[in-house]
Amino acid sequence: MFEHVLSTMIFLPILVGLVLLLLPASQGAARGTGLVASGIILILGIRLYFGFSGAGGMEFSEIRDLLPSLGISYNLGVDGISLFVLLTGAVLYPLVFLVMTNQSKGCYANLLITQGAMAGAICAGDLVLFYIFWELMLLPIFFMIGIYGGPKRLPATIKIMLYTVAGSLLMLAAIIYLGVVYHTQFGEWSFSAAKLAGLELHGGAAVLAFTGFMLAFAIKIPLFPLHTWLPDAYTEAPPATTFVLSAIMAKIGVYAVIRYVIPTFEAEFARYALLLACSGVIGMIYCGIAAIGQKDIKRLLAFSSASHMGILALGVFCMNIQALTGTIFQIVAHATSTGVLFLFAGMLEERMQTRNIEELGGIARQAPIFAFFFAVALLASVGLPGTSGFIGEFLIILGAVKFHTAIGVLAGTTLIIGVCYMLWMFQRVFFEKTNDRTAGFKDLTGIEALAFLPVILLILIMGIYPQPFIAKIEPAAKEQIAFVRPAAQVANYPVLEKGHVPEQK
Amino acid sequence: MILDYLVLSIVLFCLGILGVISRRNVFTVFMSIELMLNAANLAFIALSRLHESMDGQVLAMLVMAVAAAEAALALAVVILLHKHTGKLDTNVFSLLKG
């Protein structure tokens, strides 16, 4: 079974999810099945982590022809970058089934399908395969928001669908373009990412194809100004869906840029890196300031998440090893912290029947453990040293300063912007006096606390002793940097990594 | 020679179109459609004769079969419509109005 570990991680949840959809299972049974399935995935994920050598290159590869006449293959594999994105999902998913007890059966089933599809999108080494999984992971999201969402779910669904479908179609066109170019240059069909990376792309068509890819991923990340679907979708979606969207799916956008765009479009990427970096920084500031104006706790967290995604994406566009490693590290760090925050917000909503910050208060006194866990996740989210958030943000800011001083300085303001809204929210929700509504709030039960504990510990461990993680990320990040280095030097970006000469007096 | 048949066919066809467009009685419309089908049959047979091949005649037979089947179905629909509304005026049936 272990040689097909990636296939298992992809298709087990999809099959279980489909069966659940068809069978008339009860809500509890669906949750239990989901828990078991995601638990198996978690175990496989842990084995994967320890079986991963970290020497660079793809591991656990599975390659089979799918449509040889068009060069489409079933091609899976993980490297140091995808491993962590994959594991983030594997680690966080069981939590959803453990903690979110009030979702409907269809929601649990769709969650499972999304999990499998996301794993597929992460591991795919063939662009057509990637596209299939990419679409497959989006479909259940539409259903979950549209069927099980909040009162304004339909506009939110239409918005997210318009955006993501527009992006996906452009990406499909770009994928086909790449295949055709490969055919003209090498005389055979192939959509393998590794082979397409060797293409020589020139001219306006290449820029258009690059735009097609970047638009699809920028919408998913989301980069400013393509973020408007996010607050609505995150707010209206059921808590579990919001969790999946924010914690894992948004990261796949960043991951896909690193994995598919950088190797193939190195010249275009280097040329437009500054523009994209600006977009990331502006998004970070814009969404961070927007968060202060929110009264709905989920909407505030949505903007916070968008703000952090801006700086996360910035790390990719800086094209140096520190920033890129920081980004990949931050993918995991942000997934854990924001994921936990959204889950907690979901629990608050379930128990208090409100998301309005003004109607809450004094929860820290009622539920110290809940408040403590929330505080740890919050501190990680604002990048306090000792939590995972600091390492990632520090590396990204450091890299950004090298890439472009002004952008580095602006990126640094995330330190200030983040605490403003987070502390404001924490004050209104957890401090101050309890009211009639919050007086009945019960603390986490022992099982819930135990369920959250591993993630909370992970946040702390990744902050205190991140080197084992970084050691696995760095070689893969180096390979990606190697792709853009020549192009970036042409475009005059400072990406020097070795032989750095201290300035002379 | 052949042209005459074709011209007749076109004239019949146009008459059928005119009938469909201008008349409001369901039966008249239906008869106009039949006229158009028969115009097509005439063209088929004329051309079959010209090319000395049986294909056209086969097609004509096919069209007649379809027309018969269609007549049975359409008349049933018309009877139902009439039962429903008591009228045979096509302007009454404007459910597709946007």
Partner: protein, 637 residues
């Protein structure tokens, strides 16, 4: 050569472990199964006292080494390593950090003990001590970190504890707002710190990013880079050490429990900025211009906050502004490259300011949380120990010879004159007089005259032993700490300065004896003038004043909070609201709205064609077919 010593890693670990254990005990306890306060108190005091013993060991170990080699370090593990960036979680002690270590652990131990008395009966007693232990751990990381990044861990960690402890009484919105303010203002400073680190790293950090490597490579930097880095780091210091323009959080921070004010907001955390500048003395000493900016910022802060201090009516606010003012002196010292003088003032200040705050805490405790000095009076007889110890603290703060504050403050003022900055010196002397005035205004109002509120006075009682003993110990320190650095003119050997010398890149200006005597004379005169005015006005009873004009302006701290609110907070919130109510729905949502608008418009147009009559559809068909046949016949030609 530096020596390795694993126990350095243990020093911050002990209080952190203490915090974890106490925190877990607190979290897992319920109303009925609570541990007794006594157990918590003892558990909490273990770590600070042990670290104090370790601090002594560090001092002795360093002392046993030859002067040039007084460094010990311990590298626990590689923290993170990416490309040329290689950050170790390492600890490092040299004379500078050992001095900091000694007084931090010393005052922390005393304040932990004091808190057992002060916090008695508190609902969340365990939580308080968990925070306090956590603070100590973070402070020790700050002091012992072997490079700027590790220092930053402690730097932010103490900020977090400060936030948690300011908003400790979290039911009251004002307290939490004060906590938020402290955290956010500190974060503004931290931005400077992070950017400073980033610039420094890209300049010379590639070959090692700890103090030793940085010091060795500092000569490779251009002076522009050094100035930039030093200014950015100083921005960090103004946040943490409450200097212009970021001092506004410290007075509000008095919302926390009084022992917290004593430990964090007077003795230890707020001096971290001074420590940082001294730590980076190898950079600051290369750019005297930046040093002057630091010095002037410091002395102006000292002046402004001394003015505020003269008009406050809350006993803790008076002390808070005096802290800001004294921190200003310290920055004046380190700015003028008189690092040891600045650090020495940090050292003595820790004793007398912790003493004053704990004394104030004892007064507040006695008066059931009344903090307004205009409701006190005549407490001398009721609280004798508090009175005498606070008097010593006040004399030290006011700079009365031979109390500790006199020597340390005088050293800074003398060096201001010796380095040719008479402006700084003059303001410094003025502030010295004002300090004497407001300190004794407070002492006279609280302890002398007749009681202003008889009800409060009657119920007042001296604090329990667990609180008075730390007061007495600190009073001894406030009395004699100055002797440690007695200048040559009084026959002393400047022991502290010599001890610190290997850690600091200090300049030693040459100045005549006359200058030194002038400096001392002026300080003493200023002290006497200040205390005389205070005695005249408040010595034997005074009525609650009505502030008008300048006094009212100063009472409201020059309306600086309102100004910041108007210039920064409100616009920020307004932009936030504008985004939510205008930009989001109107501007960035444009593509979506455009798409839906397009579909709607197209629908409206096509709707007109859908008349619903079969006949009309037939016409469309005919038109379509005709066009198609036409096209077909055209293409066949």
């Amino acid at each position: 050569m530096e020596q390795s010593a694993a126990y350095l890693g243990l020093i911050p670990l002990l209080p952190l472990a203490g915090a974890t254990i106490i925190g877990l005990l607190h979290l897992s306890s319920c109303q009925t199964c609570k541990l007794s306060e006594r157990t918590y108190g003892i558990l909490a005091c273990i770590a600070p006292i042990l670290t104090f013993l370790f601090a002594i060991k560090v001092f002795l170990d360093l002392h046993g080494l030859p002067v040039e080699a007084r460094q010990i370090s311990y590298q626990a593990f590689t923290w993170f390593k990416v490309g040329e960036l290689d950050i170790a979680m390492g600890f490092f002690a040299d004379p500078l950090s050992s001095l900091m270590l000694l007084f931090v652990t010393f005052t922390a131990s005393l304040i932990h003990i004091y808190s057992i008395g002060y916090m008695a009966g508190d609902q969340t007693f365990g939580k308080f001590f968990a925070y306090l232990n956590l603070f100590l751990g973070m402070m020790l990381i700050l002091v012992l970190g072997n490079g700027p990044v590790v220092m930053f861990v402690g730097w932010e960690g103490v900020g977090l504890c400060s936030y948690l402890l300011i908003s400790y009484y979290s039911e009251d919105r004002a307290n939490v707002l004060a906590g938020n303010k402290a955290f956010i203002v500190n974060r503004i400073g931290d931005l400077g710190f992070v950017l400073g680190m980033a610039f420094l790293f890209w300049a010379i950090g590639g070959s090692g990013f700890d103090y030793i490597s940085l010091k060795a490579n500092a000569h490779l930097l251009s002076s522009t880079t050094i100035s930039l880095v030093c200014l950015l780091l100083f921005l960090g210091a103004t946040g943490k050490s409450a200097q212009i323009p970021l001092y506004v959080w410290l007075p509000d921070a008095m919302a926390g429990p009084t022992p917290v004010s004593a430990l964090i907001h007077a003795a230890t955390m707020v001096t971290a900025g001074v420590y940082m500048v001294a730590r980076f003395s190898f950079l600051y000493s290369l750019v005297p211009t930046v040093g002057l900016i630091v010095a002037w910022t410091g002395i102006l802060t000292a002046l402004v906050s001394a003015i505020y201090g003269m008009y406050q009516d809350d006993i803790k606010k008076v002390l808070a502004y005096s802290t800001v003012s004294q921190l200003g002196y310290m920055f004046a010292g380190v700015g003028l490259a008189a690092y040891s003088a600045g650090i020495f003032h940090v050292f003595t200040h820790a004793f007398f300011k912790a003493l004053l705050f704990l004394g104030a805490g004892s007064v507040i405790y006695a008066l059931h949380h009344e903090q307004n000095i205009w409701k006190m009076g005549g407490l001398r007889t009721k609280l004798p120990i508090t009175y005498w110890t606070m008097l010593i603290g006040a004399l030290a703060l006011a700079g009365c010879p031979p109390f500790s504050g006199f020597f340390s403050k005088d050293e800074i003022l003398y060096l201001a004159l010796a380095t040719g900055n008479p402006g700084i010196w003059l303001i410094g002397v003025l502030v010295a007089g004002m300090t004497a005035y407001y300190t004794f205004r407070m002492i006279f109002l609280v302890f002398h005259g007749s009681p202003r509120d008889q009800g409060l006075f009657d119920h007042a009682h001296e604090a329990p032993t667990v609180m008075t003993v730390p007061l007495i110990i600190l009073a001894v320190g406030a009395l004699f700490a100055g002797v440690l650095n007695l200048p040559a003119i009084f026959g002393g050997g400047q022991v502290v300065s010599h001890w610190l010398a290997p850690s600091l890149a200090e300049l030693h200006p040459e100045a005549s004896h006359e200058t030194e005597i002038l400096a001392i004379g002026a300080s003493v005169v200023a002290f006497f003038i200040g205390i005389t005015i205070a005695y005249r006005k408040f010595g034997s009873g005074a009525e609650v004043p009505v502030f008008t004009g300048f006094a009212s302006f100063a009472y409201h701290t020059f309306r600086i909070n309102e100004l910041y609110d108007l210039l920064l907070v409100r616009p920020y919130k307004a932009i936030g609201s504008a985004i939510e109510y205008f930009f989001e729905p109107q501007v960035t949502d444009g593509p979506v709205q455009l798409t839906t608008w397009f579909y709607r418009a197209a629908g409206t147009v096509f709707k007109l064609l859908q008349v619903g009559y079969v006949r009309i559809y037939a016409i469309y068909m005919v038109i379509g077919l005709s066009l198609m046949s036409l096209l077909l016949s055209q293409s066949l030609k």
